[in-house]
Amino acid sequence: MTGSCLSVAFDAIPRVTHMLTKEMIQLIYVNKLKKDFKKTIKEPGLKGSLKSFVKPKTEIITAVNEIDFHVPKGEILGFIGPNGAGKSTVIKMLTGILTPTSGSCEINGKVPYKNRKSYVREIGVVFGQRTQLWWDLALRETYTVLKEIYEVDDKSFKERMAFLNEVLELDEFITSPVRTLSLGQRMRADIAASLLHSPKVLFLDEPTIGLDVVVKDNIRKAVKTINENEQTTVILTTHDLQDVENLCDRIVMIDKGSKIFDGEIAELKRKFGQSREMKFVPADFSALDKLDYEGEFHLKDAVEVENDGHNVSVRFDSDRISVEKMLNYTLSKLHVKDINVSDADIEEIIKGIYRSEVKVDA
């Protein structure tokens, strides 16, 4: 793998263009952002519990380790990484909820955790797993509350509601209490709530979690529309890579608290898209033992075999092992009922990176 200093290479491309147009000035600067958490370690058993009650042992866990990135105005940035990678922690620092241990971030000329009250006026935030709506009140009431909080005047409020209504179709449930809304309705309502005051930056933390395909699609369209109409900068974290492919101009990928990729999706595919997947149904599963890819190709960690009892899938890097050799070897060793080789899609690539079979020099 020839992944030489990817992040530098990709950063350099947008930076040049930014110099040309004034609108493209970076809106978000993140510099060596770091967050440590203190964690109490509990020893097992009753004795351990008592011991940690009297004298708790703590250890420092680094959730986010010196992350850097910039986002220009009007961009939709996908922020991805496996569970526990530190995505949410970064979002919480960028929205002023958490104070970083060290490093800094500046958004729209403001430091989130220093001037929280004036800063949050200019951003909208949606946490997919929580709601900012008033649980026991009719949805309409939440918007009235928000109107007062953000001091939106009557005229703009009316126009804004009409616009959000059109994009997110709130009309059908705007008079119902929030607790009676379905998850999809609630998410649309939440997104509308975060956009009521026309924020400059929109943070979406897993906005499509648990939603069906149709609702997901609606939400993506709405985000796209708002981004195009108002030049709203969007930071999106998600596990749904369809979100990323449909929406994002660029992605930042983090794992174990560190940035491992920063660039456009096309670049990601070009760089890591050599991975292929061969799927086959063997005539006899016991014959699988005869396959020894590592021994045959003298390569370590280049091939990954997965057997779910019906299909066998083999992922490999076509730069190192040609598709022809792979097929020849496999077919020479056993009989198959069916076989096909496919391009890895972005999901596969990312799976690979998460499993760290693709090495990235960040």
Binding site: F37, K38, S88, K92, T95, G96, I97, L98, T99, Y113, R116, K117, S118, V120, R121, I123, V125, F127, Q129, R130, T131, Q132, W134, D136, L137, E141, T144, V145, E148, I149, Y150, E151
Partner: protein
């Protein structure tokens, strides 16, 4: 000031609707308290009838009965759930949803609680006060109700509530450290109940202790308004106790801000 009311008024509205949802719960809660109050009443009745003396440590039987019911009324009205509300939000992490809004937490919680309290005020206040006044009229044969003293009582009650609220908010922030407040909250309520004179008048305690408690914020929570209501305080004492209440209120508003700033720096939001 008007802007503050405009922004935070919806919180009060939400509080009313919330209280209406849990009204059965609330009625049972109040019933338990009323029973406790009557147990206290019979206990003191027995003390007075067995002792033979007209007064006990400066309190006549009528004073004592008024004290029991008015202190119950005061501690019910000045009661604040702030520590629970704040603690729960910290515990389940929903405090984060407040942090992304350009609002002050203390005011948001305060206005919401005021909404929730309207119900308890309307249910408890009138019947209890009328009851006490009828009792005092029957025993002494004269109308004891004094509108001027009553207004002073109301002012002192509002101050008591606000102090109580901020004490509770300060305490609620300890959820950042303790993670769960249920047990320590129970202990805190009992200690404050005793030290504030809600259980027995502070005058019954040893003079030194009583003097110290009078100066500490505890007396401001229940004892001061009750003593004003039943006419045990003279003008000078009323003025000094008002002064003390205001000082403590400012102190706790300030303390709350300091604790919050310190907590936020070390905040870890629970539950992702």
């Amino acid at each position: 000031m008007r802007r503050i009311f405009k922004i935070y008024k919806p919180f009060t509205h939400a509080g009313v609707m919330l209280a209406a949802q849990y009204r059965v719960n609330f009625i049972f809660f109040i019933l338990g308290d009323v029973l406790m109050c009557f147990i206290n009443y019979f206990l003191w009745k027995a003390v007075f009838s067995s002792g033979g003396a007209q007064t006990f440590m400066g309190f006549s039987e009528t004073d004592m009965v008024s004290y029991i019911f008015i202190s119950f009324l005061t501690s019910t009205l000045a009661y604040s759930d702030g520590s629970y509300a704040v603690g729960e939000e910290i515990k389940d992490g929903s405090i984060a949803m407040r942090m992304i809004k350009p609002i002050r937490f203390d005011l948001a919680f305060l206005f919401q609680e005021l909404g929730e309290r309207t119900m308890s005020i309307s249910i408890v206040f009138l019947p209890l006060m009328v009851g006490v006044e009828i009792f005092r009229f029957v025993v002494t044969g004269a109308v004891q109700f004094n509108i001027f003293r009553f207004l002073l009582y109301l002012l002192s009650l509002v101050l008591a509530y606000l102090i109580n609220f901020y004490v509770n908010v300060c305490y609620g922030y300890s959820a950042f450290v303790l993670k769960n407040l249920w047990g320590s909250n129970l202990l805190k309520n009992i200690i404050i109940g005793f030290l504030s004179g809600a259980t027995i008048p502070l005058a019954f305690l040893p003079p030194v202790l009583s003097a110290v408690l009078n100066f500490l914020p505890f007396a401001s929570l229940t004892y001061t308004p009750v003593m004003i209501y039943i006419g045990m305080y003279g003008p000078v004492q009323i003025l000094t106790s008002f002064g003390l209440q205001i000082v403590w209120l400012i102190f706790f508003i300030f303390l709350q801000q300091v604790i919050w700033n310190a907590c936020v720096k070390r905040l870890s939001v629970q539950g992702g």
